[in-house]
């Protein structure tokens, strides 16, 4: 397994997954995931289709129950908690497919994200979102179902901003979006979540490598390789990790 500082100390800050297995019904998807996100670190989780990237995020946010293993955030276990309780612990999950509320306006979507603090004290956060995504300002009173895919993704990220997370999980942000838009979204992440540790799941490795410091490559429900992003910038190196030819990174 990869030489990943932080593993082996359950009391360390940030997110720690150890030996996590999970699945749906009779099929199992994750076969012992070990993964650490230290405070302030932005981690890309890459890998082929069906590797278990999305399921890993869903285990962290409580949408899928882990069968075995440990999941801790800043030392506190997240296992057995319901998704809404995990949100209260400070985890914001921007799910695959955006999942904005189609009948709510942009404003209502953003306000819903402040549910855990009674919907109060939200104006500054909304202002921050609108500053980062001026297009949402023009669409403020429009129902989210009528937004373009890119605008919906901005809104989904905006909701996570309003949640004021201690950890943010972002799943397939670039799916179906134009390259220029993807670039814009990633550059906004750098600003909006400058100090927030993040796990970013991507099918599109090159953009993720640009904006993340550390990389985990998943395949077949296990972490096949981990290391600083700089070590994965060559296509060849990445392909090796994808196909599982290399188990870990020489360091």
């Amino acid at each position: 397994m990869a030489a990943d500082p932080g593993i082996g100390d359950g009391r360390s800050g940030g997110l720690v997954l150890r030996g996590v297995t999970a699945g749906y019904g009779r099929s199992s998807v994750l076969h012992g995931i070990d993964l650490t996100v230290r405070p302030g670190q932005r981690v890309a989780v890459l890998g082929p289709n069906g590797a278990g990237k999305t399921t890993t995020l869903r285990v962290v946010s409580g949408l899928v129950e882990a069968r075995t293993g440990e999941v801790t955030l800043d030392g506190g276990s997240l296992l057995g908690l319901r998704p809404d309780e995990i949100v209260r612990r400070g985890v914001a999950h921007v799910p695959q497919g955006r999942r904005v509320f189609p009948d709510f306006t942009v404003e209502e979507n953003l306000r819903t994200a402040a549910y855990t603090r009674g919907g109060r004290d939200v104006d500054d956060d909304i202002a921050m979102v609108l500053e980062a995504f001026p297009r949402l300002r023009d669409r403020f009173g429009v129902r989210a179902g009528f937004l373009s895919g890119g605008e919906q993704q901005m809104l989904a990220i905006g909701r996570a901003v309003v949640q004021r997370p201690r950890l943010v999980l972002i799943d397939e942000m670039s799916l179906g979006l134009a390259p220029i838009l993807i670039k814009e979204l990633y550059s906004r992440l750098d600003v909006l979540f400058a100090d927030v540790p993040a796990v970013i799941v991507e099918q599109n490795p090159s953009i993720a490598l640009e904006h993340c410091g550390w990389v985990h490559v998943l395949a077949g429900g296990q972490v096949k390789a981990s290391g600083p992003a700089s070590e994965f910038t060559s296509q060849e190196r990445l392909m090796q990790a994808y196909t599982g030819a290399v188990e870990g990174v020489p360091s």
């Binding site: 709510f104 209502e108 819903t112 549910y115 009674g118």
Partner: protein, 291 residues
């Protein structure tokens, strides 16, 4: 002309009750994806509580209303906790059958606790009638319409402006996304059943105050309200309310102008026609995006 106007006025006043009960049904359908076939017996049971405390025990309508409201809250809570939550998740028919069973259970419980007699609840509502240009406006029914409109408005305000209401609306659109915003599914489910139960109580007292209180007395109104909800669109709360008023007027018109047989089968006829022509109802939409 005044006959038509009279039918319209009478229809709107009957429609208020349908609208309220239809709202109770649609609220459950929209958030919980099921139809509560115990809506009538839950409301009726609590109306009996109102009668028992207020009239039989002679404590007056204030305490009667209080006990009935507490009963409605407790019943809504108990149904959610005892039936919906253990059975919930995925299977619509399990819950539908369970509420049908609950309906039988509650009707029998009502008979055991309160007897099978026919009671007059003597609600403290004004009586008499106004004559406005040849159209008779029954005062009791006018007040009932006002209560129905006020209750509907109160629900609308709760759903629109309270944190709980926003959470309920978010949950109705996408339960999983709502959970990721920190909205607890249990809280939404619990309050949906409690609010629906309270609406049922209000509708039951209103119906009892213009007819009589007896076991199963609300079943006919439930069928009309269910029809109204289907007509307006089960997934649309404003649609269900509008459906209630439309059905009230259609019923009044058919009483005045159509053979009696038509009036009797009107709800079934409407359900049939709506499901054939516009299954989502007048104001509803077939959901396309829920995964």
């Amino acid at each position: 002309m005044s006959g038509l106007l009279q039918a319209l006025v009478t229809g709107l006043m009957t429609g208020g009750v349908y609208a309220l009960l239809a709202l109770s049904i649609a609220l459950i359908f929209k958030t919980m994806d099921t139809v509560n076939f115990a809506t009538a017996s839950m409301g009726a049971f609590c109306a009996f509580l109102f009668f028992q405390v207020g009239t039989v025990l002679g404590l007056g309508w204030g305490p009667g209303l209080l006990v009935a409201a507490l009963g409605a809250v407790a019943l809504g809570w108990a149904v959610e906790r005892g039936i919906v939550r253990p059975l919930g998740g995925g299977d619509l028919f399990r819950l539908v059958l369970a509420t049908m069973g609950l309906d039988i259970l509650l009707n029998n419980a009502t008979q055991i606790f309160f007897g099978s007699g026919v009671q007059n609840i003597n609600a403290p509502l004004p009586t008499g009638a106004w004559d406005v240009g040849g159209v008779t406006i029954d005062l009791t029914r006018l007040v009932i319409l006002a209560i129905a409109v006020a209750s509907t408005a109160a629900i609308a305000l709760v759903l629109r402006y309270t944190n709980l209401g926003i959470g309920m609306r978010a949950f109705a659109q996408d339960p999983q996304a709502a959970a990721l915003m920190g909205v607890p599914a249990r809280t939404v489910s619990r309050w949906t059943w409690i609010i629906s139960s309270l609406l049922g109580l209000v509708a039951a007292i209103m119906v009892a105050s213009v007819s009589v209180l007896s076991v199963g007395f609300l079943q006919g109104t439930f069928i009309s309200a269910f029809t109204a909800a289907v007509l307006g669109g089960l997934s649309s709360l404003p649609g269900a309310v509008a459906g209630g008023f439309i059905l009230g007027v259609l019923e009044a018109l058919s009483i005045s102008y159509a053979p009696r047989a038509v009036t009797i089968v009107l709800p079934v006829l409407i359900i049939l026609v709506v499901l054939m022509i516009r299954p989502a109802g007048l104001f509803g939409r077939l959901s396309a995006q829920r995964a």
